[in-house]
Symmetry: C2
Subunit: 217 residues, 2 copies
DNA sequence: CGATCCGTTGATCAACATCAATTTTTGTGG
DNA sequence: CCACAAAAATTGATGTTGATCAACGGATCG
């Protein structure tokens, strides 16, 4: 998963000598689109959203990042300002790595560079898939897919509810729709016994049926 | 643009000794999603579409690639089957480069690897932007954006029409809608004197107004 | 010169956005 | 722990946008 495993020992040492661990509270912004980043943020704990404001004023969540993922890497590699904003969805622990500690091994350590490259190739594939989904699928299909994604990637709590408790507005921003329609679609799922809720918590009751919805059946 | 400029002379020589130039006719498929690629295709001439079939059976065009761009690179780097299909929109000339001639310099030539990495970072940024557009903008906004994209990237013919003559169905597959709605939206643009047409050819008459539409005004 | 593909239009229904209003939950100071 | 303000969740009503099916003319190509 993490490209840093490809670093040499002395590179890792130098990095950990310079890393600063930050505690970030739920709701706080790690960086905003348009900012010039002086390094990357490695997620030690907690989950963050990567989002971008559309011209029409609505936020779109492009990716959810958890432990082990690196934020801001693309911008540092491309020497550009951030294209996305990163916001904590839970209390987080991240460590900041100055960009020169990324750039240098990129020049000198091919194993590291290749690991980063493969990781980005994965991200690009996922992004292409999301484009197709956004363009071609209904809100109903996309919500079904997002719910399964949340279960598969962030797991369940002790009672079988999705571990990651997103607000309805955040789920809507992942699906790419208005909060009201998101809620209505979720309500339909409840009536069809595909999911159940307890407060803001959501439990998937019939994963197979959700899967069929994604496939358009 | 092209990462191959970062290759050493001997690497380029070895590559050109092994490259096979192929002529591909308009409409022909270069590779299909799901295929395992044994190398990459460098576009020498002509334009191709990269598309993916959605579960609901409709094609989505994710990218248009022209001279100098490399097709299949992501799949080869990630050692995966192709995520997208590549189809010629015009008669094309491509050269095939076996994957070992890509993989080897990736291991040994950091300058090349970094060039590829930066290129992919760009692709990823564009992909994220498209996700936001698909999720948040109307067909009208997206069509306006696509028309300007076609002008900016592929230019005009001698009479001021868009050089790249896509079929209505292909434009619809870029925008992410049905052909009928695409045509209706284009007809509205004509009535508002934003564009004009001659046969399948399209001319942008009021670029600034199109830009305002994209911005949601 | 017919067959086929492409472009276009009409009609209809479903999906989605938006505004308004109400209820519920949450956070916070006393 | 309670009260109260603020934020979030929910529902209704309404208008717009988009998908789909059907039909038809015109171009294209063997």
């Amino acid at each position: 998963m993490n490209s840093f495993k490809a670093l040499r020992k002395e590179e890792l040492k130098q990095m950990s000598d310079n890393k600063k661990t930050k505690i970030i509270k739920k709701g706080d912004v790690i960086f905003k689109e348009g900012e010039r980043l002086s390094g990357v943020f490695c997620v030690r704990n907690g989950i963050s959203k990567l989002s971008k404001m559309s011209d029409n004023g609505r936020d779109q969540i492009v990716k959810l990042a958890q432990k082990g993922e690196v934020l801001g890497q693309r911008s540092v590699i491309a020497s550009e300002t951030a294209n996305l904003s990163a916001t904590a969805l839970e209390d987080m622990e991240v460590c900041f790595i100055p960009k020169n500690h990324i750039e240098e091994p990129l020049q000198t350590n091919p194993v590291f560079t290749n690991a980063v490259l493969k990781h980005m190739a994965q991200d690009l594939k996922y992004a292409d898939d999301i484009i197709v989904n956004m363009a071609q699928k209904t809100v109903r299909q996309r919500l079904a897919e997002v719910l399964m994604y949340l279960e598969d990637n962030f797991g369940l709590d002790g009672e079988g509810y999705l571990y990651l408790q997103l607000s309805r507005a955040d789920i809507a921003d992942v699906v790419g729709t208005a909060t009201e329609l998101l809620i209505r679609t979720l309500t339909k799922f409840k009536k069809e016994s595909l999911v159940s809720t307890s407060g803001k918590r959501i439990k998937i009751e019939d994963k197979k049926a959700l899967y069929n919805i994604v496939e358009g059946l």
